[in-house]
Every structure is written in structure tokens, then in C-alpha cells.
């Protein structure tokens, strides 16, 4: 295995990669400038997790070639279970770094909906992508990893829903990782124009035993006035990745975003989800469930920042920790000056299944406005023996009783995933992890 040294890709190499993809000049320049910034910018500093010894930059190769799927019949049985093969009209599958399958209904095309892989979008919808790509939500120069991501983007999705278009059925994306040398610099950009509505559900599936690569994922959701976005993700990345995932919402007037995130990585993970409630009357619901096991170290920061008046933000995070897993949950509700009549609520709960596991829930409220509502609840504890007693008194074994309590605890996200097959997948993943 050849390992590239830190930031081994030079600006010249990044430019030539861009040219080989036939990317427009602006994107090539963005990449080249970003790699130079990446060399200088500091690392992010996730609260209460020291990442100075984590390796976020080295990987065997920037892109790997994978065979696309000419039909869904070629998918493995496990993958077929995640997708409603007959019913799913809008589907994108990315295999490692290769766009492997795309289906979009005539109806959506006719309505002007754009649903394609990000690098195709950069070429074919250059102006639209340029307007929103790391301009409003995430900025290239926030820190080393955002810049590194911008320089090295090698996959992802662009979804644009035009004004007044309501997409009734969920769009589905599957990121398949079946090459241990693959690194994922996936960028998902969802833009819901004024008065539109869309539901997007993605799944990360690693079938490799242990990855040698990096996962540096940035996902941006831009909801313009009165738009509604429901965003579901089930992440199951293999051990071996160092995962940095940044999900960002930028929510305008009267717009709404619902996040349902099942974060089931087996890798060390730094996850940051920040939703900016920009417009008056905007709303964000962030529901996250996590299972940590083995020696995993993870940090989950969820923040909702209120700028608009009458904005409402709800954070719910439930985590189950077993073995020697260590997890930090930072929940931040921030109400900026001027965001009067806003409401920031959060709940963080951690369930510990073994002596060696560690979990911290840190609820933080930062409020710069008088006329607001805010609240938080946090707890770290074990499975309640009285609940187990009750369930066992009906004949359930201790293991089954524990299973029910844990599933119940993680249900808030499972029940909120809008695609049945993905819901089942998450249930199965949870089952496998907490056993």
C-alpha cells in the first residue's frame, strides 16, 4: 500500500485532476486555491475530543475506478434490501468514487428537478452549482478539513428543486463502499427553491472489513423561502476510515428542514451538524441516533443557530454506547440578538451498556436575546432495571427486554425515516450493533 504524505496533492495536481474531469475553470481554481488554504488553515477543534493524533489527510489514492451497474439486478442482496427496486423512481448509486447508477422519473425532469452526481452537475449546471457550492452554508476556508474537502471533492450529489415544485416521493441515494482503498470526499448539495418541497434519503454502506481511506463528507441544504426539506441519512462506514462529516442547513424565511440521522459508523468519527435558521419563522428539527461500539471514538456536535425572528429549533440526540466506545455529544442552541420569539429546545440522552463505555452529553444554550424560549434535558445512564423487570414479568428474556428498550430508545429516528426499506436497514444495523 502506498500512502501519500500529508496534503501530497499539489495545486498543480488538483488542477490537472479537475481538467481531466472537464470541470469548468471556476471549479478548478476553487480546488487549487483550497488546497493551498488547506496547507495553512488550522484543524477544527471539536469540543471535548482531542483529534491532534487523528489522521485526516493520508490515504492510498485520491480516486479508485469501480464498475458501474448496468441494471439493479447486479446489486448484492444486501443492497437490494435497501432499495425498493420496483417502486423507487428516483435513485442514484455511487460505487466508491464512480457514479454507478442513476434513475430519475420523466415527471421530475419535466418539472425541472435536477438530480445527478455532483461532478456532472458542476459541468452541466455550472452556474447554479457555483452559486451555492460552499458559498452560503459551509465555507471553504472554515478550517483545514473544509478546504481539503473542497480541493479533493470526488463524488456526491446535486439536487435542485425549482420554485413551487413539490416532489411527493422521496429521492434515494446509496453510497456503496466496496474497495478498501477508496477515499470519500463526497459533497451533497440540496437546493430547495422558493415554495418547493422535497424528501431526500441517503445511505452509506461499507462492505469492506477495514478501510484504508478517508471519509471527508460535506452536505449542504439550502431551503429558500417557504421551502420544506426532509433529509434522512443512515451512515454505516467501516472501521479504518477517519470520518469527518459536516452537515449544514441554511434555512430561509418560513422554510423548514427535518433531519433524521442514523449515525452508525464503525469508524472514528467527528460529526458536525449545524443548521442556521436565517429567515423569520424558519424551523429545524434535528433528530440523531448513534450507536458506539468497540474502541470507537466519536464526537457529535449538533447546533441550531437562530437568526430569524420566531424561528424554532429542536435537537434530539439519543446514543447507545457499548464495549469501550467513547462518545461526546455536544448540543448547542444559539439565539442571536434580534431573533426574538424564537424557541430553542434540545434533548440529549445516552444509554450505557457496558462498564468500559464512556458518554458525555453537553447541552449548551447561548442566548443573546431577551424575548425567547429555550430548554434542555440531558441524561446519561443505564437501562432501567425496573423497565426490564416489567418487560420480563411478561415472559420476555432479559436479552429481549434489553433489545426492546434499546430499540425504543433509538426509535425517534427510525420512525422518522421516510423510506420503509431504509428504516428496515437502520433497524437491522442497530440490531447487529447492540447484540
Amino acid at each position: 500500500m502506498t500512502v501519500e504524505t500529508k496534503l501530497a496533492l499539489s495545486a498543480t495536481e488538483v488542477r490537472s485532476f479537475s481538467q481531466s474531469n472537464n470541470e469548468p475553470a471556476w471549479f478548478g481554481s476553487l480546488r487549487a486555491e483550497a488546497i493551498e488554504k488547506a496547507a495553512e488553515l488550522p484543524m477544527p477543534t471539536p469540543d471535548k475530543t482531542n483529534i491532534t493524533k487523528w489522521n485526516f489527510t493520508e490515504f492510498p489514492q485520491h480516486t479508485v475506478e469501480s464498475a458501474p451497474f448496468s441494471s439493479l439486478d447486479e446489486l448484492s442482496a444486501d443492497l437490494k434490501e435497501i432499495i425498493d427496486i420496483e417502486g423507487q423512481e428516483n435513485l442514484y448509486i455511487q460505487r466508491n468514487n464512480t457514479p454507478a447508477f442513476l434513475k430519475i422519473s420523466e415527471e421530475l425532469k419535466a418539472q425541472g428537478v435536477i438530480f445527478t452526481d455532483i461532478l456532472t452537475a458542476v459541468r452541466e449546471h455550472s452556474e447554479l452549482v457555483q452559486k451555492y457550492f460552499m458559498t452560503e452554508a459551509v465555507k471553504v476556508d472554515e478550517h483545514k478539513l473544509t478546504a481539503y474537502h473542497a480541493a479533493l471533492v470526488n463524488g456526491g450529489v446535486f439536487l435542485y428543486v425549482p420554485k413551487n415544485v413539490v416532489v411527493e416521493k422521496p429521492l434515494q441515494v446509496v453510497f456503496l463502499n466496496d474497495n478498501a482503498d477508496a477515499s470519500l470526499f463526497n459533497h451533497v448539495l440540496v437546493v430547495a427553491d422558493t415554495n418547493s418541497a422535497v424528501t431526500y434519503v441517503q445511505t452509506y454502506v461499507s462492505t469492506v472489513e477495514e478501510s484504508n481511506g478517508q471519509a471527508n463528507l460535506i452536505e449542504e441544504v439550502i431551503a429558500l423561502d417557504n421551502a420544506q426539506v426532509t433529509y434522512g441519512s443512515v451512515d454505516v462506514l467501516a472501521k479504518g476510515f477517519t470520518t469527518y462529516v459536516n452537515r449544514r442547513g441554511h434555512i430561509k424565511r418560513d422554510a423548514k428542514v427535518d433531519w433524521a440521522l442514523g449515525l452508525m459508523n464503525d469508524s472514528d468519527t467527528i460529526s458536525e451538524s449545524i443548521t442556521h435558521l436565517i429567515g423569520d419563522g424558519s424551523l429545524a428539527n434535528t433528530k440523531t441516533v448513534v450507536v458506539g461500539r468497540g474502541e470507537q471514538k466519536q464526537n457529535f456536535t449538533t447546533e441550531i443557530r437562530h437568526w430569524g425572528k420566531n424561528s424554532e429549533g429542536f435537537i434530539l440526540k439519543h446514543g447507545v454506547m457499548k464495549d469501550s466506545a467513547q462518545t461526546i455529544f455536544n448540543g448547542i442552541g444559539k439565539i442571536e440578538h434580534g431573533a426574538s420569539k424564537s424557541n430553542a429546545e434540545q434533548e440529549s440522552r445516552v444509554l450505557m451498556l457496558s462498564e468500559g463505555a464512556r458518554g458525555d452529553a453537553n447541552p449548551i444554550l447561548l442566548i443573546d436575546e431577551d424575548d425567547v424560549m429555550a430548554g434542555h434535558a440531558a441524561s446519561v445512564g443505564r437501562v432501567d432495571p425496573i423497565q426490564l423487570y416489567y418487560l420480563m414479568s411478561r415472559g420476555l428474556s432479559k436479552a429481549e427486554a434489553e433489545r426492546l428498550v434499546i430499540h425504543g430508545f433509538l426509535a425517534p429516528v427510525v420512525t422518522n425515516l421516510p423510506i420503509e426499506s431504509v428504516k428496515n436497514q437502520l433497524t437491522k444495523v442497530i440490531e447487529g450493533k447492540v447484540r
Partner: protein, 260 residues
């Protein structure tokens, strides 16, 4: 016929002895009422039979058809035929009532012989109708946000679906209005018969107007101090407990606090 035999039972909670040598024998096809003033150990008896983790049996035996109940885990006791309708049922978020009841039924069946979904739904619908429960209760999370009365009905729903040999009702009547009480009693009476025995623990004679007991026992100071027929309950209602205390020379010394 099955028999539940409790002999010389001593039970402590946090090193305080609450039951002090209790004897009781009950057969299927019988309903026993256990009455007594507050703090005499009635709920402790119910919890000890089922195996509540906080209660320690320090002496005595509990057997069901000769099998040693005290050696069984809580779920094994349930599978041996015991059921406790709890005074304060737990709330379990994220687990629907219907899923839970089905898991409980299937826990008693061999793998591959699980109850069919259709049959289960039919039976659940029928039983909920019988108990005048709203059908949407099946899809609500187990006891979460249920009113006191809804929780008690839900205990009886589970009882009727699981069909145990012996049910212990721990103050099933407390906090119930008269209509709910009638429904709960209707459920118990429906279960009565061959193959079902019941211990109804109560403060109040009122429950026994709807569930006529075959035997009535009075508990004081951690023991059964008097047993009789239904007429005993009526006399208690009319005269209180003082006459028993006088008759048996019991003084109010160490009444203990009833444990939730």
C-alpha cells in the same frame, strides 16, 4: 389444576423485614382477595412472587405445582404461569403496545410456532373491544402518557392476551373511577374458570362487589392473620380492621411503608 403454595415467606427490602412468615395456598379456579391496612406488606407479597429486583426473600418457599419459583428468573416465573398486574406499570418509549404483547405471547411459544399476525390482530382487536379500549391504544408506546385508568386497563389487556395460570392484581382498583373499575372487573371475570387463579390485593371492599372472591385473607404486620369467605370482606368494609386487631391482640407498632 395448578397450585401456588407460599410457605413461611420472609421478605426484606434494604435489610428491613416486611414479610414475616406468610403462608398462602391458591388453586386455579379460585379467586383470593388479600386485604389489609396500608403498610402491612401486601404489595411486597406481589413483588416477591414475581421477583422484583429490590426485594430479597430471606426465608421460606414459593412453589408452583412443586416447582421452586424462587430459583427462577423473572421471565421464567412468567413462563411458569405467573402474571403480575402492577400498581405502577413502567412506561417504555418507542415500543408499541401491540408489538410488546405479541413479543410476550411469542416468548411462550417455540421458535417457528409464533402466533400468526392475522390471528394476533383479531384477538387483540376483540380483547380491546371487550375492555372498551380505543383501537389506537394498540399503536401507542407502551404505557407512555397513559392515564392511570388506561394503564390499569392495559394491564388487564395483557393479562387476557397472555392467559397466565395465576394472576396477581396489585391494587388494580386504586385510582379507578367506577366505570373503569367495572371494565377491569369484567376482564377478570371473563378469565375466571378452570385453569385460572387470581390473587386480588386491595384496600377496598368496592372491587369485591364486582369480583366475588372465593377466599378472603387479611394481612397485618407481614403475615396473613385471618382468612374467611366473602362475608369477611363485607364485615371489614362495615367495621374496619380494629376488631381483628383486638381479637388477635395485635398492636400498631411497626407498620411499614408500602413500597411502590
Amino acid at each position: 389444576m395448578s397450585t401456588l403454595v407460599i410457605k413461611d415467606l420472609h421478605v426484606s427490602i434494604e435489610d428491613k423485614e416486611i414479610l414475616k412468615g406468610l403462608n398462602l395456598t391458591i388453586n386455579t379456579n379460585e379467586v383470593h382477595a388479600i386485604m389489609g391496612p396500608n403498610g402491612t406488606g401486601k404489595s411486597t407479597l406481589a413483588s416477591a412472587i414475581m421477583g422484583h429486583p429490590k426485594y430479597e426473600v430471606t426465608q421460606g418457599t414459593i412453589e408452583i405445582d412443586g416447582e421452586n419459583v424462587l430459583e427462577m428468573e423473572v421471565d421464567e416465573r412468567a413462563k411458569a404461569g405467573l402474571f403480575l398486574a402492577m400498581q405502577y406499570p413502567s412506561e417504555i418509549s418507542g415500543v408499541t403496545n401491540a408489538d410488546f404483547v405479541r413479543s410476550a405471547i411469542n416468548a411462550r411459544r417455540e421458535e417457528g410456532d409464533e402466533i400468526s399476525l392475522m390471528k394476533f390482530i383479531r384477538e387483540l382487536d376483540k380483547t380491546m373491544d371487550f375492555l372498551e379500549m380505543d383501537q389506537e391504544m394498540a399503536q401507542r408506546y407502551l404505557n407512555e402518557g397513559f392515564s392511570g385508568g388506561e394503564k390499569k386497563r392495559n394491564e388487564i389487556l395483557q393479562l387476557m392476551m397472555i392467559k397466565p395460570k395465576f394472576a396477581i392484581l396489585d391494587e388494580i382498583d386504586s385510582g379507578l373511577d367506577i366505570d373503569a373499575l367495572k371494565v377491569v372487573a369484567k376482564g377478570i371475570n371473563e378469565m375466571r374458570g378452570e385453569g385460572f387463579g387470581c390473587i386480588a390485593i386491595t384496600h377496598y371492599q368496592r372491587l369485591l362487589n364486582y369480583i366475588t372472591p372465593d377466599h378472603v385473607h387479611v394481612m397485618m404486620q407481614g403475615r396473613v392473620v385471618k382468612s374467611g369467605g366473602p362475608e369477611l370482606a363485607q364485615r371489614l368494609e362495615a367495621e374496619g380492621y380494629d376488631w381483628i386487631k383486638q381479637e388477635l391482640g395485635i398492636e400498631d407498632t411497626d407498620a411499614v411503608t408500602e413500597e411502590a
